[in-house]
């Protein structure tokens, strides 16, 4: 076994480097399915680098909240990632109850994003904030209920154990519940990351946006950080789904991490395929799908409570 410090370093490196690639792969998949060549998968890295080099204009009506929001977004996602095991190997930080911290780190980031949106005083951004808060009220229970199933199955309150080597064994005893959890969490990943059918990350129509409209006033480095933070969030939430759905735990760091990274890339392709095949939901129907995800997770809890 490698010393845990090295594992932690690899963990952190993957977390910091990989996320924009996922965004690039989604875009590339969509392009391929639309018959276009598409931008290279490295494009998000270039975009972020470009934005970080730019200057920015900041509205005089805004306060420090406006600039704090992108920083909090990235910080929250990085801290959350430190709680999450990759490929079944213990996360750099773990303690009993870390799953609650994990869930609410995203709550903190959301609080700042919405506050920054309201800070601008724009009618659009307020509308986006209202939508974000409404929908996340419904996405959060689905995430927590999904985690409750794992808590019951593994009798642990730490993500490192819940998503660790025991997951494979759980598929033998509680496959039905886990299938429901995977579907429910996948819906949460799509909703939380503003993917179709919940939101359209490529649209330019501000009246239809949920997340993008809240960051309309950010530009330059702040926007670059928001894009990077969004990619991190996709990575971290996606990693939970992958940890449950691909329970390959060989014990070899290289193999496990290889499988993990491969599965993450596969997840991106899947998101790209879904985005290519369906239209967006009517905004009013978004809650129905999220409630559906909550119900699935609820059934999973009921199944695992037998």
């Amino acid at each position: 076994m490698l010393p845990s410090l090295v594992v932690a370093a690899i963990h952190l490196a993957l977390t910091l480097v990989l996320p924009p690639l996922l965004v690039g792969i989604i875009a590339r998949t969509k392009a391929a399915l639309a018959g276009r060549q598409g931008a290279p998968v490295w494009q998000p890295y270039r975009d972020i680098a470009k934005l970080l080099r730019k200057g920015s204009v900041i509205s005089t009506t805004t306060s420090w909240i406006f600039l704090a929001s992108p920083v909090v977004g990235i910080a929250a996602a990085i801290v959350a990632s430190l709680l999450l095991p990759m490929g079944g190997h213990r996360a750099p930080v773990s303690f009993a109850g870390d799953l609650v911290l994990f869930a609410y780190l995203f709550g903190l980031a959301r609080f700042f994003t919405v506050s920054a949106a309201l800070d601008t005083g724009s009618a659009f951004e307020g509308m986006g904030g209202a939508r974000e808060v409404t929908f996340s009220c419904l996405a959060e229970p689905a995430l927590l209920l999904g985690l409750v199933v794992l808590v019951r199955a593994t009798s642990s309150l730490s993500l490192s154990t819940m998503l660790g080597p025991q997951v494979l064994a759980q598929w033998h005893v509680a496959a039905a519940a886990l299938v429901l959890v995977v579907i429910s969490l996948f819906v949460v990943v799509l909703a939380e990351n503003c993917r179709i059918p919940f939101d359209d990350p490529n649209t330019h129509l501000e009246l239809t946006m949920i997340h993008e409209v809240m960051v309309l006033d950010h530009g330059g480095p702040a926007l670059g950080m928001i894009l990077y933070g969004a990619a991190l969030k996709l990575f971290v939430l996606g990693a939970i789904v992958v940890a449950i759905a691909v329970p390959v735990r060989t014990g070899s760091l290289v193999v496990d991490l290889g499988v993990f990274v491969g599965a993450m890339l596969g997840l991106s392709v899947l998101v790209g395929v879904i985005e290519s095949a369906t239209a967006r939901l009517k905004l009013r129907q978004v809650p129905s799908l999220l409630v559906g995800a909550c119900l699935l997770a609820g059934f999973a809890v009921a199944l695992s409570a037998r």
Partner: protein
Amino acid sequence: MSAGKLARTRNGVPLPRASVPRLDVGELRRAVLDAASRGDRLVALFGVPCEPGRVELHAVLADDSEATLRVGTAVVDEAYPALTPECPQAHLFEREIAEQWSVVPEGHPWLKPVRFARPARSGRDPFGRKEGEAPVAGVMDYYRVEGNEVHEVAVGPVHAGVIEPGHFRFQCHGEQVFHLEISLGYQHRGVERALVGGPDKRSVHYAETLAGDTTIGHATAYCHVVEALGQTRVPARAQALRGVALELERLANHTGGLGALANDVAFQPTAASCGRLRGDFLNLTAAVCGNRFGRDLVRPGGLSSDVDEALVARMLERLDAAMRDVRDSVELLWDTASVQARFEATGIVSVDDAEPLGLVGVAARACGLERDVRRDHPSGVFRLAYIPVSVWQTGDVFARAYVRWLEVQRSAVFVRDLLESLPAGPTRVPAAALAPGSLCVALVEGWRGELAHVGLTDEAGRFAAYKVVDPSFHNWSGLAMALRGQDISDFPLCNKSFDLSYCGFDL
């Protein structure tokens, strides 16, 4: 039966201005209301300057069932009793008259500027602005809903996409729209005024650029006016090719529009391919005249270019190939549940709203109103060849999309038939000088709907006035109605389903 006091004519048939009855304004009002109550549509209502300081109102109505047009005039000074309270389809025309001529339509319930242009005649400002104050686009009193939970959202005039400028003001309760007010005029260029004194070298170019996506349609309508006033007989081959060009314009815009609708609901397959296929149709037009939008093609007296047999064969082949792809791509829209969930029951305009508002074209046909100039007031090749009217009943986004799809299919068949049986002969004859003291109304069914051009000549055979009514002029009100009670997030989709022109409205 006061409608009988109006002069009768037909699409593209000139009248001596002397034979158009000059009524008392009360009589004209009664005649127009009477005709409208019997189902006539108000095609145009506009002012023309006459004796010093006065304005002659011209009303043009269309009786679709008898293919006739009715025209009447009346002279007004400072004010006249508005038609709008009893005839809502006059509402924008009367606001336009107030703006252009400082004539107050008394009793108009919604008297606001249309294009924020300076009046062409001095007088009391009908909108209560201070003397000498230059109008600024978008600066007016907007309708407001007050209340704790009501909020206002303002969109534009600068939009996120590469589209034209327009200002939209929503009164919302949460996600629900109570009311949408649309304020345009940012692209007002004064084309109508520039056409006065013509026709000259520039006139046809002005007509082509009234609305760039309706180049063929507007140029054809303009040429119909000039040819009718000059008694120029356009060769049959030119008329047939104009029909081909008009329908190709419809094919390109409808295909592009269906793709844009798919894009607005984030449905990638159709969005991606329709964008390309629109180009295929535009390229067919380019094959005829060298320009994808048909600039420099339609000219008074005929066409600037001709096609040979080899080109016709190539066009037929490319048309068939494009139609095969369009069919695959568009039918995916109707077969995909997630798309239908967005289209159906979104942005409904009832026929009870559409008719009084005087909607035209696709927007009207999607509400079940069978209005199509190609059938009701045929001109050019449409007098000889019939193209079925495409109608749907539900008045929602789906209906507007589906009517466009029906029209794509029918236009493709029509173009094919025309190309296969093109009459021989020249494509252009010299256009004669215009008859003096005459009036002519030309209606053409552009891809959005009815394009109305009214030309009036003076004693020297020059345009004394030229009135253009783009279908967008009627239909923007339909969009505002469609948004009542809708989600604000569905506005872009509703807007795209109407697909209206800003510059065609702003002129």
